[in-house]
Symmetry: C2
Subunit: 210 residues, 2 copies
């Protein structure tokens, strides 16, 4: 009865706190966000935030792990294996791109929390390994097959995966810069993002031709 986790309406302080904490952690990372600030945003006392989540660590973990799971689920989702190779790459890239578009601050959260404090906080190492294995294993066989039949140039799964990841994620990390600098405006934003998505897919596929 306690874990409603509803979030949908304006029901209850607990979800208000969670929502505010999520937004703040995503925008400023763990260390720059204070319990006091979360409380102020949620409209309650800072003691109440501790009442619900005991420690800051706790609150952060809850949010981070939720986001991470969501990320995994999306990536690992079973795709149609019968698709031709090019289409498969396209579907996968497209899905990663959309996920990032819906969570633009996610990479920043990862960087600021996981890379800075490798030892500390969350132990997602195993999670990450299995994610990578899962994400690449089904691709691996297909890639080998394509290479052997000469339909793509010689390369490896790691490189293809890194290329996909690099192109998609960096775009969203760089986007705020482009906006601040005026290269992307409110008017052309949607179009710019859609265009870049197509270009990334085109780049990956074109780069694989023999």
């Amino acid at each position: 009865m306690k874990d409603k986790e509803d979030n949908s309406g304006n029901e209850g302080m607990e979800s208000r706190i969670l929502a505010c904490a999520e937004r703040l952690f995503l925008n400023k990372g763990y260390n720059l966000t204070s319990m006091t600030e979360i409380a102020k945003e949620a409209g309650c006392t800072q003691a109440l935030v501790h009442y619900y989540f005991r420690t800051k660590e706790n609150l952060f973990s809850k949010i981070f792990e939720g986001k991470f799971q969501q990320f995994i689920d999306c990536i690992v989702k079973q795709e149609d294996e019968s698709l031709p190779f090019g289409k498969l790459i396209e579907v996968r890239t497209s899905r990663l791109f959309d996920l990032m578009a819906a969570n633009e601050r996610l990479p920043f959260m990862f960087l600021s929390e996981f890379i800075i404090n490798p030892d500390q906080r969350i132990n997602l190492k195993d999670n990450i390994v299995s994610l990578c294995t899962e994400a690449t294993s089904r691709l691996e066989a297909k890639i080998r097959e394509e290479m052997e039949s000469g339909r793509i140039r010689s390369t490896c799964t790691m490189d293809i995966t890194l290329n996909m990841f690099s192109l998609v994620v960096t775009f969203f990390v760089v986007l705020p810069f482009l906006e601040e600098v005026g290269l992307v405006t409110d008017a052309n934003r949607e179009e710019f993002i859609a265009g870049r998505k197509q270009e990334i897919i085109r780049t990956i596929i074109a780069s694989l031709r023999p």
Copy 2:
């Protein structure tokens, strides 16, 4: 007489402090590094750090701007314009890659300081714009020429630049993960990095074929 900035030997507390601060800021970002910690590492009192640099902000700016300038100088360096297009892309990518290899924590410093606090601290916007303009302008004409003569597929400077930047920078951001997870070890590290460098160049060039 005061700004020796020698750094080479073990001469003087001031350079010791600068060196320690640089290392700490690069590894943990501005907010996670305290003056106390810098002092402790440098082997002096925290008051002394203030004596030399007055404020933390000051100390950080000095280091950050130095790094940024170094970055600009390296990117913008005049290359041989007479090189064939493919070679030019290769030289440019290679140079960016080597710069990153020599400053693996740089992207992190950028992210943690510039993206989190866009308004705050350093006003590098103009610097960045002129860097981008400078970096792409000389390429622009060449790209148009290649496209018109059909030697590369239809694309634009922005996309090529983003591709280069994404592939190179993300690799170094991801590298610590790959190490932690065991995919890259001390034994294969050098080889892995060199291999990835070649693959990135190959990817960019291959993706441009008509």
